[in-house]
């Protein structure tokens, strides 16, 4: 696959986890193939939605791209650099361009650091600016995400889930990245707060030209955020294409089954959707 200017090109990405057994000496007897040959591209400013159920490998894919997990195989080309073989120092530099927003607002912020220090940390780690510069930027970032900058001396536990997600987003923006991996960023939030955060993410994308890899299990959420969609199942991409296309004209049975399974807020459609689900039951056989 040629990287013709795409910001991120993932080719045949693999992440296998060894299953070890043995008494004194452990031997690898098998592998859990969390990600098993995944390929896609993301262009500048674009959002690719990565959707799948639990165990599909979508979060693992995100971590592998950011090299938080070392891929077992395949290639990750980001801004022209092959991340799987880059030196540690070069990788550290490149990290400024790719960041992540996590799912759990409670474990993604260090409870012993103030809000200000949390958002400042990326700049501190890379030695950017003087302390005053950083303080000013922290305030700017918090304002941008709709969080009151007067609260920089407070601790995360004093804030709600949605507020904490905003802090996490401000932190992700601190180094001006080009790509942000959003790993289920709203799954832990109430519907009304979800809407706030999703709107925020959209606004930021528009204002800052960010590209997103939007990982989620909620098909409706992904629909509203993505230009293109990839559907994952058991470590592989089952279907990939423009969001409109995949949602209105799905090709694969698994995709159709997934779409039929989503409960829609319309009681009248229920019977028809249940029929559709029964028809596609084979594609999502519930395993043990």
């Amino acid at each position: 696959m040629s990287s013709n200017g795409a910001l991120l090109t993932v080719t045949d990405l693999q992440k296998w986890f060894p299953v070890r057994k043995g008494l004194l000496v452990e031997r690898t007897v098998d592998h859990v193939k969390a990600v098993d040959g995944v390929s896609f591209e993301i262009a500048e400013g674009e959002t690719l939605g990565l959707v799948g159920e639990s165990g599909s490998g979508k979060s693992t894919t995100g971590y592998c791209i950011l090299q938080l997990l070392k891929p077992t195989g395949g290639s990750v080309r980001f801004m022209g650099h092959e991340l799987t073989t880059t030196s540690r120092n070069d990788l550290r530099e490149l990290r400024k361009e790719m960041q992540i927003v996590f799912q759990d607002p409670y474990s993604s912020l260090n409870p012993r650091m103030t809000v200000g220090k949390i958002v400042e940390e990326p700049m501190l780690v890379h030695g950017q600016g003087t302390r005053r510069d950083r303080e000013r930027r922290v305030r700017d970032l918090l304002e941008t995400v709709g969080f009151n900058p007067d609260f920089t001396n407070r601790y995360p536990h004093e804030f709600s889930g949605g507020q904490r997600q905003r802090i996490g987003i401000a932190r992700a923006l601190a180094l001006n990245p080009r790509l942000i991996v959003c790993d289920e960023p709203v799954s832990a939030l109430d519907v009304s707060i979800q809407a706030q955060i999703l709107n925020l993410l959209k606004d930021l994308q528009r204002d800052l030209g960010l590209a997103y890899l939007f990982v989620a299990h909620d098909l409706a959420v992904v629909r509203g955020m993505s230009d293109r969609i990839a559907v994952m199942n058991h470590g592989k991409i089952v279907e990939i294409g423009r969001a409109e296309e995949v949602y209105t004209n799905p090709q694969e049975d698994y995709t159709k089954a997934l779409l039929a399974a989503v409960p829609v807020p319309d009681p009248r459609r229920m019977r028809e959707r249940k029929r559709e689900r029964r028809r596609l039951a084979h594609a999502v056989a519930e395993g043990f």
């Binding site: 159920e53 519907v191 009304s192 809407a195 509203g224 230009d227 399974a261 009681p267």
Partner: protein, 336 residues
């Protein structure tokens, strides 16, 4: 007579700052053979309502007022012993997290038969036979072999099915499902909802399904009550609620839902509800949704008094001074 009648239920929690009014005057009824959906965001009091009905409140919570009439008997007047007979036998409950609802050190079979032996006075053999039947009813393959498995050998969806089997084991008249599908994948969720529907018909049970997911409640419920800050703010049949929502909160909630279908979803924005639910210790006398309501006005009556739940159409109740059909611009014409 409805199977369950809850009247002006008030459940408060003790806290250092005062009473947390988790459920503050909730009234609803569940008819025989029908499903009531209670929907709301976290903290609205929906789970506490269910726990109050079941008598499963923690020691720092107490029912301060109200009546819970099940089949004519007021459950709030029963002793713990009498309540234990009702609980599990006539009213059963399933919970959100199948991973922690089952005891990991007991086999599935033991957990199934335990309930039956307690309530139905069955012998172990008879209970085991019935347990296998139940597992088959909830579509667990190879039920006979799997009876002696431990929970860790079951997936999340399968465990939830076991929970349902346990709940059904004593043929309850009412099943309360508290966020039964929240922890499950969407395809598994669909399967569980289908199963609940099927079982409800077969056993002629009534059901209360509690969830934050408007889609789930649209699918599973006949009647829906929307809760906010410890009170019911709107109540109607499922179809009427989604066709013509009245309360600004319901409207906002529906507007905040990401849509699976529809056009221009990518470019559009969701209707966000600004602010946050009120502090349940320090509630004002005003309408509880007022600070977040796009129609509220400091000069309105709702800024001083909490509106009553009133019938705006047959079988459609709303607690608001600004329901949709009464807003300026509502078309003239008969409300059917």
């Amino acid at each position: 007579m409805p199977l369950l009648e809850v009247e002006n239920l008030k459940t408060y929690f003790k806290s250092r700052r005062g009473d947390v009014r988790a459920v503050d005057g909730v009234t609803f009824a569940v008819e025989r053979g029908l499903t009531l959906g209670i929907v709301g965001e976290s903290g609205c009091g929906k789970s506490v309502t269910a726990l109050s009905v079941m008598g499963l409140l923690t020691p720092n919570a107490r029912i301060v007022d109200g009546a819970i009439r099940f089949d004519g008997r007021d459950l709030t007047r029963l002793s713990e012993r009498e309540l234990e007979d009702v609980r599990g036998r006539q009213i059963a409950m399933i919970f959100q997290d199948p991973m922690t609802s089952l005891n990991p050190t007991l086999t599935i079979g033991t957990q199934l038969t335990e309930t039956m032996k307690r309530h139905l006075d069955m012998s172990t053999d008879a209970a085991r036979k019935r347990a296998i039947e139940l597992l088959e009813e909830v579509h667990i393959p190879n039920a006979r072999q799997r009876l002696d498995d431990y929970p860790h050998r079951y997936s999340g969806g399968m465990r939830q099915r076991v929970m349902i089997a346990i709940a059904l084991s004593c043929n309850p008249k009412l099943l309360i499902a508290d966020e039964p599908t929240t922890a499950l994948d969407v395809t598994v969720q669909a399967g569980i909802l289908d199963l609940l529907e099927e079982l409800r018909e077969q056993h002629e049970m009534s059901m209360i399904i509690i969830t934050h997911d408007m889609g789930v409640v649209a699918e599973a419920a006949d009647d829906i009550a929307v809760m906010y800050a410890g009170q019911i703010v709107e109540q109607a049949t499922a179809e009427d609620l989604f066709d013509r929502p009245e309360h600004p909160y319901t409207e906002a909630l529906l507007g905040a839902l990401p849509q699976l279908e529809g056009e221009n979803v990518r470019e559009g924005r969701l209707t966000a509800i600004r602010g946050r639910p009120p502090d349940l210790v320090d509630l004002p006398d005003a309408c509880r949704f007022a600070p977040r309501c796009p129609y509220a006005n400091p000069n309105d009556a709702c800024a001083r008094h909490n509106p009553e739940l009133r019938e705006i159409r047959p079988a459609h109740l709303v607690r608001s001074a600004h329901p949709a059909s009464e807003r300026a611009g509502a078309l003239a014409g008969a409300d059917a």
